[in-house]
């Protein structure tokens, strides 16, 4: 069983600050980590491999420093890691990102399952997994909390819902996005850490994955961020206290003053 896990390197959300002038995340000096939901995706991939054999290939689209996230994925038990990196990818929205991952997965070829975290902790869109599945023309099941059975023909999973779960069967290949309830990622082993240090991380650029330049980066991104801002929270309104008839009088006067009545 060949498993591809798509991951994203994100800023450690516990201490993110927003630049007031540009409205963007201050990334300088902020520790970069594997998107927490993707850790569950890696763990699940590794567990399937341990049960059924095969290999786990981890893929990320990102800048060269995203290599660190891939090394950690190797430490967590993945067998191979591919960094999809090209200046032309920079500024991609979810559609262009999905297209890029789709091209990378096609280039890798032979796979049975693609696993993603349910969403990234920075963008929180939860779109890339399902979009990638659509482009690959395979079914997808999101919010998977448990894989009940799996073989090379079909898969049966529990999809988490607000009021319980759905039991879903699908053919394989399939793309899953997973929630944190699916497993507890293992503590990274000593041998894993040593393997991560020695691992050779493959890099694919836009050409390597045969990407159409019109569909990547800003060119392939119909959504653009116009502005990011911290919403201004409404402070409490004016409060009238006293006897009911006094409050009623004060309220009528106030409404009259501001021209509502």
């Amino acid at each position: 069983m060949n498993i591809i896990v798509c991951i994203k390197q994100v800023p450690n959300a516990t201490n993110v600050q927003i630049d007031d002038e540009t409205g963007r995340l201050k990334r300088d000096g902020v520790e970069a980590i594997i998107n927490p939901y993707d850790e569950y995706a890696i763990e699940e991939g590794v567990r399937i491999k341990e049960k059924l054999g095969g290999k786990v290939i981890v893929v990320t689209m990102g800048p060269p420093q995203a290599e660190n996230a891939l090394r950690e994925a190797i430490a967590r038990g993945a067998d191979e890691a591919i960094l999809v990196s090209d200046k032309a990818f920079s500024g991609a929205d979810t559609l262009a990102t999905s297209y890029t991952l789709f091209c990378a997965i096609k280039t890798i070829g032979n796979y049975d399952i693609v696993i993603c975290g349910k969403q990234a902790s920075d963008g929180d869109t939860a779109q890339v997994g399902p979009e990638t599945a659509e482009m690959l023309n395979i079914p997808h099941i999101s919010y998977v909390k448990k894989i009940e059975t799996i073989d090379d023909k079909s898969i049966r999973v529990e999809r988490m819902m607000e009021d319980g779960y759905d039991l879903i069967e699908s053919s394989v290949p399939v793309l899953l996005t997973v929630v944190k309830e699916i497993n507890t990622p293992r503590v990274i082993s000593l041998k894993g850490k040593m393997a991560a240090r020695k691992a050779i991380i493959k890099t694919f650029d836009a050409k390597d994955i045969g990407a159409d330049v019109r569909k990547i980066g800003p060119n392939g991104s119909p959504t653009q961020v116009v502005k990011i801002f911290t919403p201004v929270y409404r402070t409490g309104g004016e409060k009238f206290v006293g006897q009911p008839h006094e409050i009623a009088a004060a309220l009528v006067k106030k409404l009259s003053d501001i021209g509502v009545i």
Partner: protein, 389 residues
């Protein structure tokens, strides 16, 4: 800043891994295990999964190959959080060392990989009811009958007893020869004539099992003998030279954990309108505790490095010094930590009373502090005598 001991990257990785398990997996359950006196199988699984069980076992047998220093670093880090749960691993090292010290290539290949992977735990069976500090007083016997040895006798206070799969057992093969009549055997759990007796109820290290091992006409193959007949006591002594730093590491970890708790508490506890850390009386206690912990660490690491260097034949003196000093420091530092916590320190609501209870064993097992002093003095005299020849 912590003192810099020029640790290698691999050594730092071991510490980091042990730290992660200690904080994320052990800390939330340590009181529960202490209270219930249960064997921490859930945590043993974590040790195994993270490759911590075989840090001191050479790579060719499936370990991480980082020697006694590797064992020391891992045990210290785990014991900062809990001094009992780490024993599943540390006492396994004690039970495994006779195989590393005296095992044939065949025996090493047979037993070490499962111990390195954490699939099996080990235990060391030397002590008997009337043979503690004086191991030669043991009455367990192993009588050779053709291709077998037949074991009879009872071992007591065996750490991991009942939970371990692989036991290194010392027994008299020739009672007339005294110290030279003792031999060491590998005995596996489950064989006929090998049973477990009562489980001790202890002051501390309550998440660690301590049981009697009972041999009643227990027949084992002659290939279970480690080294040669009559070499048992020598194997035990060499094992203890290698394992005492493990106890020292347990003591150091407990002391370092108690120090951290004490400093943190002293900063937060307000009396007379100010944190008690602002009082010189408390400050001086903390300063002494920190200095002793660091001195203990420096002595222990130096001893462990010396053992691993393999350049010295015997390291009895250095191992004994490390064990003596670290365990006495652990007792002193944990007692002072309880003192700084005041009445709260005596309460099970806070972790330091357990640390004090757990620390005490380190001055007792694998040789009491008095036995360590004997060992140190004996070697001093020998060294001096050798010089004056």
């Amino acid at each position: 800043m912590a003192m810099d001991y020029m640790l290698s990257e691999e050594e730092r990785i071991m510490i980091e891994t042990a730290r992660t398990i200690a904080v994320e997996k052990i800390k939330p359950v340590r009181e529960q295990y202490d209270e219930k006196e249960e064997f921490p199988w859930d945590i043993v699984k974590e040790f195994a999964q993270a490759d911590l069980c075989g840090v001191y076992i050479p790579e060719e047998y499936g370990g991480f190959g980082k020697g006694i220093m590797g064992l020391v670093l891992v045990v210290e880090e785990l014991c900062k959080i809990d001094g009992a749960i780490a024993l599943s691993l540390a006492a396994t090292a004690l039970g495994t060392l006779p195989i590393l010290v005296a095992g044939s290539e065949e025996q090493k290949k047979k037993y070490l990989p499962d111990i390195a992977s954490g699939k099996k735990l080990a235990a060391f069976g030397l002590t008997e009811a009337n043979a503690g500090s004086d191991a030669t007083g043991m009455t367990t016997t192993a009588v050779k009958e053709g291709d077998y040895y037949v074991l009879n006798g009872t071992k007591c206070f065996i750490t991991n007893g009942g939970d371990a799969e692989t036991y290194t057992i010392f027994a008299k093969t020739n009672p007339q020869r005294g110290a030279r009549g003792i031999s060491c055997f590998i005995v596996e759990k489950g064989i006929s004539g090998f049973e477990f007796g009562k489980k001790e109820k202890k002051m501390g290290i309550r998440a660690s099992s301590t049981r009697e091992l009972i041999f009643n006409n227990c027949k084992i193959g002659k290939d279970q003998l480690l080294g040669k007949e009559g070499h048992g006591l020598m194997i035990a002594q060499t094992t203890l030279d290698n394992s005492r730093p493990g106890v020292a590491a347990q003591a150091l970890g407990i002391a370092a954990g108690a120090l951290e708790e004490a400093v943190d508490y002293a900063r937060k506890r307000v009396q007379f309108g100010q944190p008690i850390a602002s009082f010189q009386g408390i400050q001086h206690m903390l300063a002494e505790m920190a200095t002793e912990v660091e001195a203990a660490r420096a002595l222990l690491y130096a001893s462990a490095r010396m053992i691993d260097s393999g350049t010295v034949k015997r390291t009895s003196k250095e191992s004994a010094m490390a064990k003596l000093f670290c365990s006495e420091v652990a007792m002193k530092v944990t007692t002072n930590a309880v003192q700084i916590f005041g009445g709260y320190g005596y309460s099970r609501e806070y972790p330091v009373e357990k640390m004090m209870r757990d620390a005490k064993i380190t001055t007792l097992y694998e040789g009491t502090s008095q036995i360590q002093k004997n060992e140190i003095a004996l070697n001093l005299i020998k060294e001096s005598a050798a010089k004056s020849k």
